[in-house]
Amino acid sequence: MASKTKLLMNVEKIRQDFPILSRTTRGKPLVYLDSAATSQKPKAVIDSVSDFFSRYNANVHRAIYELGEEATREYEGAREKVAQFIHARSPNEVAFTKSTTESLNTIAYGWGIKGKLREGDEIVSTVMEHHSNHVPWFFVQDAKGVKMKWVGMTDDGALRMDEYDDLITKRTKVVTVTQCSNVLGTINPVQEIAKRAHEVGAICVVDGAQSVPHIAVDVQKIDCDFLAFSGHKMLGPTGIGVLYGKEERLQEMEPLMGGGEMIREVHLGTAKWNDVPFKFEGGTPNMAGAIGLGVAVDYLNGIGMDSVRQHEMELTEYALDALNGVQGFHGFGLSDVSRRGGVISFTLGDVHPHDIASILDVEGIAIRSGHHCAQPLMERLNVPATARASFYVYNTHEEVDRLVAGLRKVLDVFA
């Protein structure tokens, strides 16, 4: 049951870089299939975090001594790496946040609530967003009296692109969309969506939490105004995220958090903001997190994002083939793997996803079950919950085989 085609990259060698992959869970070798929730970390990333605290911990942009210079150099170096990774025009277009969620809230607050939106303006979103790209816009809706509209999807999980024709109007000010669904894996045509938004003078916000870790993303090519993503889903540490914005967008936007670092001058009762991107980094930033993210970017570049994508497409195709042979397996999402990422949501007969996950857990297999922070999408799919397996650079055909065997065990228990 081993691999049916040759992989472009040496997965066994990659696996050796991830210390956690050698442990057991429930007494069995760990099969980690929940990278869409959070990815595992290579030793280089883990060491870089430890190194920061062991060797050059000091507050960035403030300390007038060598340690502080080193810390600042590494922190700003990480910003440059991230900027290059997504093809930003300049590092000034990259602000560090704690997560995708904070990045999206910063956009919704700074550009939406404190910005130019007026009653009667409209925001066009989609039914397949993660809660973190729904709820911040609900804040804007409630605060400014703007109207929200949602593009639907086909039964197999593609956005109804034709609906944009009706939903985007001259009242539209924001078009927001996930580049890759965390439930269906669907990769959305964000470049086309950004173009449509710009035709009516609206901005385009892209949730890149599930895309930036897995596919080559070029913000200039997409021409989005904003892109949000998290470090921990792309081999980096937790607690570090990225807010990319075109420089002019970031400049016209108010910051979400006031505090140190984000100001130019403060007098009693008044303050002027620092330049972008620093005005979005109030407080001492997550320095070790940013530096670790920079190392994660180096690691991904070392493999090559095209190889990452190729590996995941190949593994997803292999998995879909094998899983479709399991009695009662119902997979959601497109069958064409060139249009989806390495995320497979499924149900198995009438076995509840939590029961699937518990039985797989006993087999040493970690998958996700539940609504995946996408309840509107669950309603659209008309299921209370699904099970979800997701892949990354370190997953193998053998692990897919163990998943399949695990699902047969689930069927045995519930026979």
């Binding site: 029961d355 518990s358 209370p384």
Partner: protein
Amino acid sequence: MADLKALYQEVILDHSKNPRNFHKLEPADRTALGRNPLCGDQFTVYLRMDGDRIAEIGFEGQGCAISKSSASMMTQAVKGKTEDEAEDLFDRFHDLVTGKGADPESLGKLAVFQGVSEFPIRVKCASLSWHTLKAALEAKGTVSLE
């Protein structure tokens, strides 16, 4: 090592496939809706009271094998019990599934849920219907397990 059979015992699987008292009571003296937002499970518990004694109990809803079988076995366990007796049973059941040293013997058939204590994430599944029963007894209407 956690044992699969300890969690999914035959009795539990039987009750999840053929839940007992799985129906609405009309009219009911007290009802409550219990939800677990994490997994979308939800059950409604219906009670008909005779003084402070549970004369009839029924439930409806959807959930995993653990939550559904627990609801089913709960209805059998508390029928005919007073409010205080039912709440006392819940306390002991909760100690059992959280591994706090309840005496399985004292719980009768409910002792099959002891295996849940090895899977802390599933405690909410096993206790959802019990929290819902408690809300019904206290006339709280809805309860949400976060």
